[in-house]
Symmetry: C2
Subunit: 202 residues, 2 copies
C-alpha cells in the first residue's frame, strides 16, 4: 500500500522566449543518468562532429514523414525547409526507466505534446514557462547577445511577445531574476514534481 515501486520519469516541457536562459536551466539539471535533455530528430544533414542519437536522430525525409503518419512523433515542425520533431519511443523509454526528460520547445510544440492522449504522458507531464522580468530587460538581454541588426532584434522581440501570451497554459510560471535565483527555483520545481503521486507505478 505504501508506494515503493520505482517511479516513472517526468516529462518536463520548458518554454519561454529566447533570452530567458531556459536552455541553460535545462542543461544544468540534466546529468544524463537521472535526467536527459530531449534529443530531437531531424531531416537536416548532420554537421561535422555531430553524433546520431546524441545531437539529433538523423532521419531521411521519407522515414520522418512515415513516422509522422504512424503517429510516432510527439510534436514536429518544419523550419527552414527541414523537419524537426520528437520521437515518442525515445521519450517513453526514458520515462519508463525513471529518467526525466526535459523538452525545450515553443508554445506550439507544447500544445502538441499536451494533446497526446497517452496515459503515460498524462501521468508524467509538467510544464514550465520561463518569463523575462520585463520587456526592457528582455531587449537588453537579446541585444547584448550577438551582433544582430536592429531589424532582427525587433523580430525576436515580436516573437517573444507572441510566445509570452501563452504563459497561463503552463502549470508553472518562473519569472526570470538573477541566474542564481532562476536555477534555485527551477530545481525546487523539479524536486517538488518528483513527489507527484502519479509518478509511482501501480
Amino acid at each position: 500500500m505504501i508506494p515503493t515501486t520505482p517511479r516513472l520519469g517526468m516529462l518536463i516541457i520548458v518554454s519561454g522566449p529566447s533570452g530567458t536562459g531556459k536552455t541553460t536551466l535545462c542543461r544544468k539539471v540534466c546529468d544524463g543518468e537521472k535526467a536527459v535533455f530531449s534529443v530531437s530528430c531531424t531531416t537536416r544533414p548532420s554537421r561535422p562532429g555531430e553524433v546520431d542519437g546524441k545531437d539529433y536522430f538523423f532521419l531521411d525525409e521519407a522515414d520522418f514523414l512515415a513516422r509522422v503518419d504512424r503517429g510516432e512523433l510527439f510534436e514536429y515542425a518544419r523550419v527552414h525547409n527541414r523537419w524537426y520533431g520528437t520521437l515518442k519511443s525515445y521519450v517513453f523509454e526514458n520515462l519508463r526507466r525513471g529518467v526525466d526528460v526535459f523538452m525545450d520547445i515553443d508554445v506550439q510544440g507544447a500544445n502538441q505534446v499536451r494533446g497526446c492522449e497517452d496515459e503515460l504522458v498524462r501521468r508524467c507531464l509538467t510544464d514550465i514557462f520561463v518569463m523575462p522580468p520585463s520587456l526592457d530587460e528582455l531587449r537588453s538581454r537579446l541585444s547584448g547577445r550577438a551582433t544582430e541588426s536592429a531589424e532582427v532584434l525587433e523580430l525576436r522581440m515580436k516573437n517573444a511577445e507572441a510566445e509570452m501570451q501563452h504563459w497561463r497554459d503552463y502549470r508553472y510560471c518562473l519569472i526570470s531574476d538573477t541566474r542564481e535565483s532562476d536555477e534555485s527555483r527551477f530545481r525546487t520545481l523539479i524536486e517538488a514534481e518528483r513527489l507527484r503521486s502519479s509518478l509511482y507505478e501501480d
Copy 2:
C-alpha cells in the same frame, strides 16, 4: 502581459494518518502573515482559554446547520455528537488576500473540498498526502505516543490503513522519513506551488 499583480493564496490540503507528523509540518510553515493554519468552526462549547476565531469559530447548532444549508461550508463532519467544519468565507478571504491556508483534514473532508465547484478553489487548491515510511514504523510511532491500550492502538492502525488507501487522490505523496527531510521536502512543495500560473490574478 508579464504577471506582476499580487498572487492569490494557496489552499493546501494535508492528509495522512496520525503519527506522520503532518500537523507539525503545517504548523512550521504557518507564520500567520503569509500562511495560516485553517481555523475550523464547531458546535462544541469552548474550553477555558480557547479564543473564538483563533482556536475555533464557535457556533451554536442551529447556526451551524443553517450555514450548511446555505452552502457556506467547505466540508463538515459530526464527531462525538458535535459538528465540525470549515467556513468558505474564512478560506476565501485569506486566499484573496494572498494568504495561504493549510487544512489538516481527513480523506473524506478532502473529497468534499475537491468537490467544491468554485473557480477560486480550482485555481488555488493543492493536496499532499503524508505517508508513514512503513506500517511497522507507524505502529512504533503511535505506540510511543501515549499510554494507550493495545485495543486503541489497533483501532488507530486500522484507521490509518483505511486512510492510506487514498494516497493516489492527492497530487503529492510525501513519504515520511526523518523530521528534517520531511520538513525540507514539505517546504520545497510549498515553494514550488507558489510558482503556479493559476495563482496570478487576471
